[in-house]
Subunit: 342 residues, 2 copies
DNA sequence: ATTATCAATGTAAGCGCTTACAAGTGTATT
DNA sequence: AATACACTTGTAAGCGCTTACATTGATAAT
């Protein structure tokens, strides 16, 4: 910290109020254990000195920080913003503070951030998706830090999580796409390596194809990072293919927005000449035109439930349950039947 | 923290390596002060025990945290995301960690967050905009925590800041709007109370009007929170006015995107029947159609320079300089001349 | 009146780390 | 050979707080 030479300490308050440090500490942490008259005097001293407890000292002494850490892949787009905001609000209600850091989708960075957060005394951790080194989970185990996975839910994985089935959600959308008549299907996915959500979404599309007697190997797949620009780039590539896909399923709304923009730049009519779909239903999805057919993920609900569950775990009231959140397809204007072949 | 019963401590490492805790500490913090052979042995012990230093203890003992705090008004939209990302990256390069929290534009919450961050041992703080209680600045002074204001720059204010002149930036845009022929001007602004950036932007429009012999009192102003939905709402209200404004200047791109959407819903052609402008030039601005005429703010540059300056301050190499970042108008498709009167 | 009980407060032992200072060793200088 | 010095490592005193345990005084129970 800054050289806190002049900041008042517990001791200063104790002296000013004419009590012991223990009493001051009690006033702050369990006021009901101090008689009113004393408490008043102490609080006044706190007030007039402008005392703020030193967090590091408190954490060290109490071995408890009332802090929850979250590592998200990125803050750069809105995907995690909404859910995290709700997560934070709910946490605050339970008396916890949220510490966020972002890993830029880099497992190494994530590992480092996890260690940092643990070293900082986080009582519990929110992680995005299942996929990470066993070593990391071991580390958390060893330090006895409860962790909860969010944004993914897979009944086969034995690990507390609050999320949704990316496979099922994308599957539903893909089925709709196929039913609408599309056969030349392309997908712009996020990088699947180390990202189970991206993997599952691709998986969902493949499954839907198989179910409908389409060869999943005919799916044209481009993997890229989740940036608007990259979505645009990928679309450009896809439009050079022959035969051209009649629909582009995007791994999320950000990629879809990029694809949409590029289609406009190329003079391709959406959805008349080309259909495009998204995933997440962030605000962007409704803003772009045509508005995106996508999958709605109840981010707020997820954030709230994750906070509740994680607090339960931290306070020893739960061993870690999993919660599956329902998604639903949102049909808007970017999806239509394939154009008539010339 | 979680009950760290089993986590190894410095002491454990020291024993395992057969040295004193001081030596281990030195290996970790100033390795050059320990002879190679010893260092190797220690590092091996660190490795094999899976030791991570306890942050709270370190902060307490060293009175230094290598942590910078930032309180931003919201994470809910992209306004701050980009600049902050760069701020963080730059900070990391200098060996600092960023702690972010968001205040939801609430001064009370902000005050609390600042106290929390200080109590947590932040070495320095990044604050958005100048406007806040003197009491807060005093508090920081007392605790000797350097703070830097970002997203605002005003040569008249005697306080280190890295930002841009909101007045000048918006003024340039407004001048362009007026030159394009508009006389019926409306503005959808963020809440100006306690938000100097919003205030300055309104100010910028008024100034431009005055300069062009328009009465600034004829500016129709709606203040609202920075949400897409609110932008839409505001536009609806404006379109019920008579005479209808021919241009709607929005306080930022988010509001503009909402306004744009609503115009589309109302069947109003932009820019043929109505012009709309934004501010910030976030990705959204280029995605919507028509794409937004707006003011480009070099967020990355701002984030980077802010990090550099704040680190200098924290390390006592600077008393706090101010940096003015240049913005520039970006002309796209949402602004055109006013429609011919019927 | 005596003892058990309880509520309010004080005493002091750490929590895990850094660092000033002390101690020990080996090398250069005279 | 004696002295100085640099370098490496150890010793131990905190950093500001919480909390188990001890103490005190008052009230209730006998």
């Amino acid at each position: 910290m800054g050289k806190t030479r002049s900041a008042p300490t517990l001791n200063d308050v104790a002296k000013a109020a004419g009590v012991s440090t223990a009493t001051v500490s009690r006033c702050l942490n369990s006021p009901e254990r101090v008689v009113e008259s004393t408490r008043k005097r102490v609080m006044q001293a706190v007030e007039s000195l402008g005392y703020t407890p030193n967090f590091a000292a408190r954490v060290m002494a109490a071995n408890r920080s009332f802090t929850i850490g979250a590592i998200i892949p990125t803050m750069d787009n809105a995907i995690f913003a909404r859910g995290l905001q709700e997560f934070q609000d709910q946490l605050r209600e339970s008396g916890y503070t949220l510490l966020v850091s972002s890993s830029a989708y880099d497992p190494e960075v994530e590992r480092e951030q996890i260690r940092t957060l643990v070293a900082r005394g986080a009582d519990g951790l929110l992680l995005i998706g299942y996929a990470r080194d066993a070593e990391i989970y071991n580390y958390l185990e060893q330090h006895q830090i409860p962790s909860l996975v969010a944004w993914s839910y897979d009944p086969r994985v034995q690990r507390p999580s609050v999320g949704f089935s990316n496979t099922a959600a994308m599957g539903e959308l893909a089925r709709k796409v196929i039913l609408t008549g599309h056969r030349q299907i392309a997908m712009i996915s996020g990088k699947t390596k180390g990202n189970d959500r991206a993997q599952s979404r691709v998986e969902g599309v493949r499954l839907a194809m198989t179910e409908n007697s389409l060869d999943p190997d005919t799916l044209t797949l481009i993997e890229t990072t989740y940036e608007i620009e990259k979505g645009a780039e990928a679309l450009r590539k896809l439009m050079n293919l022959s035969p051209r896909p009649t629909v582009v399923i995007c791994g999320n709304d950000v990629l879809a927005a990029g694809a949409l923009r590029e289609a406009r730049n190329l003079g391709i009519q959406v959805p008349e000449q080309l259909s495009i779909t998204g995933f997440d239903d962030i605000e962007l999805a409704e803003i772009v035109s045509p508005s995106l057919t996508t999958v709605h993920v109840p981010h707020r609900e997820m954030g709230r439930k994750a906070a509740q569950e994680l607090v339960e775990m931290v306070e020893g009231r739960s061993e870690g349950r999993s919660v599956c959140i329902d998604t639903r397809m949102v049909v808007r204007h970017s999806l239509a039947g394939p154009p008539d072949l010339p």
